[in-house]
Subunit: 412 residues, 4 copies
Amino acid sequence: MSTFGTLFRVTTYGESHCASVGVIVDGCPPGLQLSAPDVQTQLSRRRPGQSNLTTPRDEKDLVHIQSGVEQGVTLGTPIALLVKNEDQRPKDYSETDLYPRPSHADYTYLVKYGVKASSGGGRSSARETIGRVAAGAIAERYLKQAYGIEIVAFVSSVGKIHLPSTLPPTRAQDEDVSDDAEQPLSAEFVSLLKSVTRADVDAHPTRCPHAPTAERMTQRILRAKEAQDSIGGTVTCVIRNVPAGLGEPVFDKFEAKLAHAMLSIPATKAFEIGSGFRGTEVPGSRHNDSFVLKDGKLGTATNWSGGIQGGITNGEDVYFRIGFKSPATISQAQSTAQYDGTPGTLAARGRHDPCVVPRAVPIVEAMAALVVMDQLLIQQARRGAASLLPPITTLPPTMVLPSHHPDKNEHA
Amino acid sequence: MSTFGTLFRVTTYGESHCASVGVIVDGCPPGLQLSAPDVQTQLSRRRPGQSNLTTPRDEKDLVHIQSGVEQGVTLGTPIALLVKNEDQRPKDYSETDLYPRPSHADYTYLVKYGVKASSGGGRSSARETIGRVAAGAIAERYLKQAYGIEIVAFVSSVGKIHLPSTLPPTRAQDEDVSDDAEQPLSAEFVSLLKSVTRADVDAHPTRCPHAPTAERMTQRILRAKEAQDSIGGTVTCVIRNVPAGLGEPVFDKFEAKLAHAMLSIPATKAFEIGSGFRGTEVPGSRHNDSFVLKDGKLGTATNWSGGIQGGITNGEDVYFRIGFKSPATISQAQSTAQYDGTPGTLAARGRHDPCVVPRAVPIVEAMAALVVMDQLLIQQARRGAASLLPPITTLPPTMVLPSHHPDKNEHA
Amino acid sequence: MSTFGTLFRVTTYGESHCASVGVIVDGCPPGLQLSAPDVQTQLSRRRPGQSNLTTPRDEKDLVHIQSGVEQGVTLGTPIALLVKNEDQRPKDYSETDLYPRPSHADYTYLVKYGVKASSGGGRSSARETIGRVAAGAIAERYLKQAYGIEIVAFVSSVGKIHLPSTLPPTRAQDEDVSDDAEQPLSAEFVSLLKSVTRADVDAHPTRCPHAPTAERMTQRILRAKEAQDSIGGTVTCVIRNVPAGLGEPVFDKFEAKLAHAMLSIPATKAFEIGSGFRGTEVPGSRHNDSFVLKDGKLGTATNWSGGIQGGITNGEDVYFRIGFKSPATISQAQSTAQYDGTPGTLAARGRHDPCVVPRAVPIVEAMAALVVMDQLLIQQARRGAASLLPPITTLPPTMVLPSHHPDKNEHA
Amino acid sequence: MSTFGTLFRVTTYGESHCASVGVIVDGCPPGLQLSAPDVQTQLSRRRPGQSNLTTPRDEKDLVHIQSGVEQGVTLGTPIALLVKNEDQRPKDYSETDLYPRPSHADYTYLVKYGVKASSGGGRSSARETIGRVAAGAIAERYLKQAYGIEIVAFVSSVGKIHLPSTLPPTRAQDEDVSDDAEQPLSAEFVSLLKSVTRADVDAHPTRCPHAPTAERMTQRILRAKEAQDSIGGTVTCVIRNVPAGLGEPVFDKFEAKLAHAMLSIPATKAFEIGSGFRGTEVPGSRHNDSFVLKDGKLGTATNWSGGIQGGITNGEDVYFRIGFKSPATISQAQSTAQYDGTPGTLAARGRHDPCVVPRAVPIVEAMAALVVMDQLLIQQARRGAASLLPPITTLPPTMVLPSHHPDKNEHA
């Protein structure tokens, strides 16, 4: 269905050519200062037409708050937001409509519903993400003010052009000799995760915070564009200052909810948390994150876990990487078949992004914010409830959190 | 929380040293023939002690059906299943309990709940997965009987030892020259996905269906064991005969639910559907799956999408890969800190799996079955409801599924 | 939260003075012919200003469909509907704002959220019900077309003026002598339930389908109005042609969901299904509904159960009664206290309904439609799934529904 | 389905003749001292065989904790509890099995599922309530310790024998003359609600806390028993010390959740909160609850609202009444029809309660506890989240709760 979250619950609506797209955000804490521009910033980062790397459609995407906010303060009631569609007419019928577009949702929507929107993919339209970005902006605003949480996503690869040292320099496929020195990720990349800011990311149209790589990515995207082709890439995201204790065992582990959220973004194909697939190749003795005292609080010396152990955040940075496939819509002719099976050739009309990852950055941030927000509220309920009980005196000390522990009342 | 699913709803309970672990399966279709041995088969594939590659603890894990089945037939009411814990005493306290185990859930459980089980990680215990495997076995039984659905998972890598051709033979990191011929996955691997059976998988203790690789994996695991270390790996899973039309836009896309399910399995760090991360490096023109007529039905010539387009299954095989980290519990001494921050050295007691992927295979299959089952029931409701409406005559033909289409009443 | 339903999921938003009120309806079957006027009819029955019995505010309440419908057909995707608020300015502050209105939500909203809308009760505004009525109109349209389901609600009492024979003529309080002849409801009322139509209901402004009683109710309401006072009443609702088999044991019994839905309507205080409280006074021997063959199908001779047994519909008419309190807003002065506890006198400004039951009729119908729709979809999933299994041959005949039974494929 | 609650989530399983009945309680706050006897007390109040008014079956109903508790303290993880069924053999087939029992769930279960348990009503078995009572006992324990909340239910009527003054002494049906002096409930009954204890209730086998009425009820029940008949009744429940601010607008109003919970108990037909149906007959001017200062806190002079305004608790006592029908199972012969429609006569075998209300008392208390607990946790999350935001300075004072208000941090 079109709802995400348990206590911070987001429901989106809208297709490409209907009256509007939008979202109802239910469960936002009352008393948060909020106005339309707070949401517009992220919507504007999402919209097309921002550089020659994206589709030249210039959509305004102005957000209108319908409810839940009065005199600039949230009431705790549902916040409805909508963005009007500029082009509200159903698409005209043409010969290309006889073809389900390859690797698109035209065919699956038709089979699923028995009827589909004239624009084909219905809710798989990129415009659906407007509602998510708007909702995420609200969550992020709360997280920043209440916890100082920072969420920064950036483009880490385009095609085969990777941010230097995202992956280790050498990779001896099917060999097992280099174990001893190898780390899942380079020190340079780990350092980037600690410091990268949204300003760094927006400094280049590719949203890659490493200028030389960004330039090479640009060339790769332009090459795809010239070839009437497309290219995929990856986005990496880091969440800093996440309190320890978030994430619900068993099925709603923090990384499981993140994976769910990320794989719900159109065109995503892969997700990895912390060391990810690379971590599966490194022995436990070097992959384990030892505990150390940091600022009077238990932390870990390394962070290959990506800030999560047993499905629960441990207070270290949470970071993850998402793979986006090469866009399915390309202008070059493709051999394929019509709905009735007749073979033929299809060439997409209109203008399309040769690469979606730069625009995906704010969507990834939004979905991350929704996950953190929902988990925070759930943990808030638990710790608040537990804090009203008398202290436990009957258990061995290692089974009970000492009352002076800095996390003790963190969420109460 | 400990519940997964909307209409096929699974709730597990239990820690390592409590009376039992188990599950309530709510929403199983009535009229399914079911008895304990049907569930036991998969439980036995999951339990430890099956070869010298796994921990020598020999747990019986006999399942007891508590409800929901009478005279060998499901009633449609909740099916409760339980497996008694052999060792029901809380663990004795020892000096090692002063240490949160690195990359384990000891610390995060304590911070989350303010209290933890003597065994440390509470619900992150591997025994929790018993409930999932039991529930999955029921789902799988229905899927097989009603739809002929087959789910087969297998070990695709251990450390750096990969099934040949899981990944393309060459990989020019940070280069962009070899685009033109490269496929996301080798033809050999694609062919394996089409034909691999559970018997092939169980033919070798590693659960890798390619004998020479299985042998190399064995050596790699034994090397880890001898070094008192551990090693990770990946599991690949294929689901065949999935009807087209499953998966709920927007947030509950089929791959999003799969990712959620898989990342909820202990020790998982990564997920990719279809071409996955590799697919991000291949241009759209070669990544797109063209349509062709197959057996009188629209299908795709290639299947880099992994059987899903726009979050909805298209009738092709669904396949995906999951990364499992190297187990955190190792016998060699590790430098770390106690709960109070005091630095020290910890060596795990007891016996532990040097590599979990062989035993993870039935867990992956179980979680896959739960996702398919739940999505099938939801789509069943929709198509059943739509089939009672009069035919639509007012829309252009490409917006409506023809009444003679083979998928038209597939789920009705 | 502001969401109702599992598979037919309705989420409303909006307060009195925000930009709009509205709803997202998720899970509507695709292929339903739908346009704004289909929804407007029920909205117009709900709005104020329809007679001298209701508040003279004349709100247009024109509905705008935002999504989910193309060329007059539902797509299966979320249908967003909105109605603009005429007065979008936050209410001016006045001396009466120092007082929480007695028996109103001003105080509880402030305590719950720590902040409240200028209009006081926030989401307890009667305008919130616009979203429900719009959603219910869609559900009702499907139910009528696919199942011939009819939902009719009417006013059964105003103050002490009851529809003749809603309740038995005599009632010997605290006595136990008249058991032998008494029925829970009179034959005349049972007959009315079978035949009453929406046209009968709308024939009189009170929405009481019995003209002489309607006239007495009018007088009662006008007397309350003249006295600057208010009066409550009851609404009875009947649902005809409900298929047998709806309702989910254990917690989501059909009557439990109905009770939940009805008690969520503002100003409701009571709910009874079938014979209700009266049925508690009649011995089992006379309260039981014997089975008889009707039209080749098993039915019941009487229907004191209100069409539900064990939480599951049995195919007979479902009927229930809801109590609405006398409106809290009255113009006469009331002795009460300010937010800070200072005693004083409050007289409501503006114009208000002296009695809400006539306008509550379409809201009750809407909530009833939402319950039936959601339960139908859930049962659809189950029966569709069960129908794909091989027939059961191992059970005694009274444990299995014969294949020729008319209900066998009713929902498949 | 068989799950109730959002954050305090209860899932029950079990039929009459399966291995066990039980429950998983997910979301219990960690750190609560809990052992089996704490749960057993309420289970024992529920079980049959306690007096000559109930069925003489003597079921032990000993509860076994399976998980979630270690060394007498809850871990915050799912608590599974089970009670073995004494008679685990499926019921033998007999001639009476050809008949669906009138007003029982035999027929509806068969139609719903296409298959049913040999015992007929499957999950509508009274034994299902064991799981609820066990879960409720845990919730109640927390509520008592953390908030001092008291829940007391009692029998308020059997047949026509009502607790004196539950209802006003005179009731001029269809008249409208006595408005001016009438109160919805008598002062005597209001006083009883304030003071009644569980000890008062258990002092008499009928669980009516007014000895003379209890005696008359006994006679009424024995008369039904002798006549091989049955009789219904009502249970009233009061919840004291509920914090203000619980209940979720719009659909999950506190009274809506209570109504849902109560109507999910087998044999219930009616629910009213506060003044209930009676309140619909009293004008607003006398029904409104004026505010007064009580113990330095805003309270109400009367409490016809039943402690809830706008769906949110206001800090006054919550009280409500539930109607239970006369039990359907009676020993006298009934004219009815077989499953195939053949008319005939059925007389129930075995022994059955002539009246269920005494045993329903702990079930009502349990369901009440589940509702309060779940709503508390949800509100805990909201207030905890809001408390981390900077104070609001931009709104008029009547829109913001003063920081010194006693409710300000009540749930934080």
